[in-house]
Amino acid sequence: MVVILQYLTYFLILSSVVSAIRVFIGPSVADRLTGLNMAGAQILALLVVISIANNRSIYLDVALVYDIFGFVGILAITRYFTRRSNTHEEDA
C-alpha cells in the first residue's frame, strides 16, 4: 500500500506541474486563474496523500488552511480585476 501511495504522490507532483503550464502560457487573466485553481486542487490532494502515507494528522490541518487561503486568494484577485473593468466601462 505504501508503494501505491508513493507513486500517487509522484503522479500528483507531475500533474500539478502540468496544470501550472496553463498559468505560464495563458493568454488572459482568467486562463491563468484557471490553471492556478487546478494546480491548487492537485497540491491539496498531494498534502492529503502525504498525510495518509506518513500517518501524520498535522498535514490535514495544513491542507485545510491551504484550501481556505487559496479560495480567499482567488476571490481577492477576481474582485480586483472585475472592479477595474467595471470602472473602465463607467468611464466609457
Binding site: M1, I4, L8, F11, L12, S15, V18, S19, I21, R22, S28, V29, A30, D31, L33, T34, G35, N37, M38, A41, Q42, L44, A45, V48, V49, S51, I52, S57, L60, D61, A63, L64, D67, I68, F71, I74, L75, T78, F81, T82, S85, N86
Partner: protein
Amino acid sequence: MTIIACVFFALGVLFNVMGNIGVLLFPDIYTRLQASSTCSTTSVLSIFIGCMFLAGWSPMTGRLLVITLFFFVTNPISTHIIAGCAWQSGMVPWRRPPQSH
C-alpha cells in the same frame, strides 16, 4: 478496504489526466473552465474518498470529511467567480470557424 481505495485512486488518476488534457487542448476560456472544474473536483474527491477508506474509523477521517465538504463547496464557487470575471471583462465564447468548402 485496500482494493476499494485502489479503485478510487485509479478513478482519481483517470479524471486527473482527462482534466489536464482538456485544460491544455481546449480553445476557449469557458471550455477550459468546464474541463478544469468538473475533472479537478471529481479527481480530488475520488482521492479523498480513497484516503478515507485507507484511514478507517479514526479522527483523521473526520478531518478528511471537513476538508472534503469545504473543497466540494468552494471549488465550484471559485470556478463560477472566474467565469464571471471573464464574462465581465468582455471575452466572447468560442464558435466553430466556418467551413471552407
